[in-house]
Amino acid sequence: MPAVHVTTTVNGDRLDYVCESDETLLDCLRDRLGLTGAKEGCGTGDCGACSIILDGRLVCSCLVLGVEAENREIETVEGLAEGDNLHPLQRKFLEHAALQCGICTPGILMAAKALLDRNPSPTEEEIRFGLAGNLCRCTGYDKIVRAVQDAAKELQGA
């Protein structure tokens, strides 16, 4: 099967790439488009490090085929900030030291954004279940939850 040409929108930009029909969207973002923000931690949808937002839904990009992205809307961590001002989540993660090694941070930021888009003032438990699909081995999640709570407050204009 010859490679497939895909036209899609990533962080608002219309982009094209050519990929094999069995290549994952994660590999296309990283190897075809050079967007290495999404990371492969497991390749089986169990760690969330590859999380992106596809047509408004939080998904693991390792469990989506590159060819499925035709005419879809993709949001990745590279698109979170607007120009040089960071998204409140990005700022709060730094202020709360909510990351140590940072490999899980892109995926967790996308999951937190998807959570706050649907539930602007979540309880601690809602945050914890909203982020349960993103493994972090360094922090024990404490400061991550506090950073999301703080960002939610700021986004609410509180």
């Binding site: 029909s21 390749g43 939080l58 998904v59 693991c60 469990l63 989506v64 499925e68 349960a132 699909g133």
Partner: protein, 286 residues
């Protein structure tokens, strides 16, 4: 590997009819792509059904709910009417994987992956759900429990695929509930699971019941004896104990990396009892 994205049911079933042996339907892909990554399957053809309008619909018509095969589980939880009438089914569907998985996986995919531990299947079985299957010669509708026949195997004939899951309207004074045991609080495959659907009369006596267990046999198990144990009762302790014992007796679990025979046998009864109490309490509120 050939990838096709038909936009009509006819095109899809035509593709699948003369498809090579190693061909698969793609909806959420959260099982299929894992098996591809692990090298367990190397598809020659993938038919992506997410571009067929009918399959993307979740609607309530006069006979009940029609849940299209391409509707992601997350959408089930967001449907107020479905969540109100079938909380057990929605609970089960929303336990699959994580938020990321929920955005993609479908209950038909969960059903056709035919894992003994599939989360949504016990709840759909207690709900007496049906599935509409499309083949070359048109469609047929069957009870959902006839689909899985063994780990990884379904009763679908070559070229057939499931269009929708059909759920009746919720009968008055009836409700369902689903519980599963996982060692963590999220992200796990059920070690053992139990679904209960029951109906009670005005006095609170249970008149109808269906009890199903997951991950304790090659396929989901409908346990008649467990239903019988609570019909005619108001879920007093004696009835609950009989329910738990009937479930444990029916189990034929295996020892594997996720759980032991003793554990699954005991906890099946515990979960069935707790699910029955939730369903009984929910039914009281309707």
């Amino acid at each position: 590997m050939r990838y096709e994205a038909p936009v009509s049911l006819e095109a899809a079933s035509a593709l699948l009819a003369e498809a090579p042996a190693q061909s698969f339907v793609l909806a959420g892909g959260t099982d299929l792509l894992v098996r591809m990554k692990g090298g367990f399957v190397e598809p020659e053809l993938i038919v992506d059904i997410k571009h067929i309008p009918d399959l993307q619909e979740l609607r309530l018509d006069k006979d009940g709910f029609v849940i299209g095969a391409a509707v992601p589980c997350a959408a089930l939880g967001e449907n107020v009417e479905l969540s109100a009438q079938w909380p057990g089914v929605v609970e089960a569907a929303n336990l699959i994987g994580s938020k990321q998985i929920q955005g993609r996986c479908t209950i038909v995919g969960n059903l056709c992956n035919a894992s003994p531990a599939a989360d949504s299947v016990p709840a759909l079985v207690t709900a007496a759900a049906k599935v509409r299957i499309r083949g070359r010669k048109g469609t047929r509708t069957v009870a959902i429990e006839t689909i899985p026949v063994g780990p990884g195997k379904t009763s679908l004939a070559k070229g057939e695929f499931i269009e929708a899951v059909l759920l009746e309207k919720r009968r008055p004074r009836s409700a369902d509930a689903y519980l599963r045991f996982i060692p963590r609080s999220e992200m796990d495959i059920a070690v053992v699971s139990a679904g209960v659907d029951l109906e009670r009369d005005k006095a609170g006596v249970i008149t109808k019941a269906r009890v199903a267990l997951g991950a304790v046999a090659p396929t989901v198990m409908l346990v008649e004896a467990a239903a019988a144990a609570i019909i005619g009762s108001k879920l007093e302790d004696k009835a609950l104990t009989a329910l738990a014992e009937a479930c444990s007796a029916a189990c034929q679990p295996i020892n594997d990396k996720r759980g032991t025979v003793e554990f699954r046998t005991k906890v099946a009864g515990v979960l069935a009892r707790r699910a029955a109490q939730i369903a009984y309490q929910r039914a009281g509120e309707r």
